[in-house]
Amino acid sequence: MTAAILPLTLDRAGYAVGGKPLLSDVTLTVPAGRRLIVLGANGAGKSLLLRLCHGLIEPTSGRRRWAQGEARPGAQAMVFQRPILLRRTVAANLAYPLALRGLPRAGRADTVARTLDRFGLAALADRPARLLSGGEQQRLALARAWVTGPQVLFLDEPCSALDPSATRIIEEMIARFSAEGITIVMTTHDLGQARRLAQDVAFLHRGRLIEHQAADGFFAGPQTPEARAFLAGDLIW
């Protein structure tokens, strides 16, 4: 086990493109072991916040710090709304991030075999990943994120393209990851899903983090009128 990379802290972090601020003044601490759900309307900056946390983009103002400093730690992973699977077999897709981390070939095969078993993908091992169903693809994407042993897993609307039964499988996987101690940071448009999974909620409005509290408190009584309207809008809809 490597050193703990969490908590992750954003300190007045902002991200602007061509002078137009897309995220502003976000101050946020992600402690270890929690499930944080990021909520907000379309264009509020949820995906951007996850990409900023994960290190795919750099803050244009403010700072991002991990427990060990500002260097990007390797023990983290992200699952995207539409996963990019490589044009290879399922097993080769799982081996790929291990190869990137310099794991020797023999060790890779072992880890891949165990991972395939664990996620019920063994029967699909030799199938081309791109020809799996949407649900199977996302299951593989989660397995691929898990295989490198991340301490924190970012998920950007992982179920938005899936049907209810595939969604349930993904939610169960996320709950199991969380039970193993992996910290979850996830965006979703599905408030039912947010209620099922959230321990903490961060609410974004027009690129600003305007609410961050325990999920029970947030769903029982949001503190800001924007969050109230967001939750109410969902009920009326």
């Binding site: 290190g55 795919l56 992973a77 995207f80 990019i84 490589l86 081309p128 791109r130 020809l131 691929r144």
Partner: protein
Amino acid sequence: MESPFVTAFTLMQRADPALMQIIGLSLRVTLTAVLIACVIGLPLGAALALARFPGRGGVIVLFNALMGLPPVVAGLVIYLALSRSGPLGTFALLFTPAAMIAAQTLLILPIVVSLTRSVVEDLWAEYRDQLLSLGANRLRAVPTLLWDGRVSLLTGVLAGFGRASAEVGAVLIVGGNIAGHTRTMTTAITLETNRGNLGLAVALGIILMALTLSLNAAAWAAGQWARSRLG
């Protein structure tokens, strides 16, 4: 006078040694040139797709423009480099198959580089976040992107083969069309047509067409198979 088509089929049927020798040399020169152009051009095109440096736009435009490089000019450039007084004159490569390979490589390279750059650039836009997330950097992404773009890249390689196997100018200038030594299908067609020896010219024309056709058919089938098999 016998119809050139009858002569052509007679030559092909009895596998005329002169004919076979010309076909063999043509394939050796062109395939070697394609191979060299791929070894240089695939990584170079991918690097050009991912790297950001001042003057990158100029380099891209240059390679795009070189796709239309007239074969005779490519031949002239290699001729000047290899001629006795040229920078590589000491190797005495002029009028050898090696010189022809060099000239054809020069013709194919811009095609491979430009098409690779365009394929890899599109793939990178799609894969960037995912690959960086998995722990790759730009350099490590190059082989991954080339492999995932393999079906599209095959088209570029094939275009290069087509260009090299069809051209006359470059191999004629640096090879000299010496019988039994540097005579290829295209230079032989030129010569035999001028001489009025149409049988051999037609035979070579038919073989050249058949070769190009079957290679394209094979590549198309491979592409279809890969798409259905790999998604």
